[in-house]
Symmetry: C2
C-alpha cells in the first residue's frame, strides 16, 4: 500500500468527479416520481426563464451541445412538459414553450428546496470562495485547450 504524496494534494479533482455523480443520482432517485431527472429539470427551469427561445439558444444557456439537448427535448415533449412550435419567419428554427404541466410550480419548488438542502450549513463566503476556485480551474482548462 504505497501512498505517494502527490495524490493527497490533487484530491480535489476526484472529489469533483464523485460529487457530480452523487448529485445526479440523488436528484434522479427523488425526482423519478415526477418523471424527471436532474438534466431534464435543468431544461425546464432554464426554459421557464425565457420561453419561446430556440433549441440552439437553450443549448447555449445550458452549456450543452444541441444533440444532447435534442434528446432531452424529445423526452420532455413525449412526457407532455414542453412544446415545439415552428418559429414563423425562419423555417429552420423551433420555438420552445412549457405546457401547463411543465409550468407546474412543483418542479421549480422541488428543485430549489433540494438545492438549499444540499448547501445547508455552508456559509456564503465559503461557497463563494469555493466557486472562485472552481472557476479558476475552468479557466486553466480553457487556457490549456487553447494551446
Amino acid at each position: 500500500m504505497p501512498r505517494p504524496e502527490e495524490d493527497q494534494t490533487h484530491q480535489i479533482l476526484d472529489v469533483i468527479l464523485h460529487l457530480m455523480r452523487d448529485m445526479r443520482r440523488s436528484y434522479d432517485r427523488r425526482a423519478r416520481g415526477m418523471g424527471l431527472t436532474l438534466s431534464r429539470a435543468r431544461v425546464l427551469t432554464t426554459l421557464a426563464r425565457n420561453e419561446g427561445i430556440t433549441q440552439t439558444e437553450l443549448a447555449a444557456d445550458l452549456a450543452i451541445e444541441s444533440p444532447t439537448l435534442k434528446r432531452q427535448i424529445d423526452a420532455l415533449v413525449a412526457d407532455g412538459f414542453i412544446l415545439r412550435a415552428p418559429l414563423e419567419g425562419d423555417g429552420r428554427k423551433n420555438a420552445l414553450f412549457l405546457t401547463d404541466r411543465g409550468r407546474d410550480a412543483e418542479i421549480v419548488e422541488f428543485t430549489m428546496r433540494l438545492r438549499r438542502e444540499i448547501l445547508k450549513g455552508i456559509p456564503d463566503r465559503d461557497l463563494d470562495q469555493a466557486t472562485g476556485v472552481l472557476h479558476q480551474i475552468t479557466r486553466n482548462i480553457q487556457d490549456l485547450d487553447r494551446t
Copy 2:
C-alpha cells in the same frame, strides 16, 4: 430577461456540473493519441498502486459500480493495457495486472502533468478550503439520501 436572485447564490452546483464535463473533454481530447480517456487513465493509475486486486476491490477504490468498471476493463484488456488472471483459490474472482504497456510511465507522467497544469496558480490553502466545501456538500447529499 428576468434574473431571480436565488440563482446567483446557488451557482456552485452548475459550476460543478460544467467543470466535470470540461475536465473530461479536455483530458480525453489530449489522451486520444494514447488510446486512453480520463476514466480509463484513472483505472490504470489506481490499479498501479495495488496490482493483483479483484474487480470488486478496484471498483470500490474508484467509487464506481462494477458493471461500469467491467466495460472499462474489457476495453483496456482489448487494447493491451491490463490483464485478467483467474485468482487461484476462488473461481469467481479475477486478479488484475498491468501489462508492460499499462505500466508505461508516460501515462502516469502525462496525467500528473495535466493535473498540475489544471491547478496552476491556486494556493494550496484555497484548494483545501474548496475541497472542504465539496466534501460538506457530499455529506449533505448522503444525509438527504438517508432520509
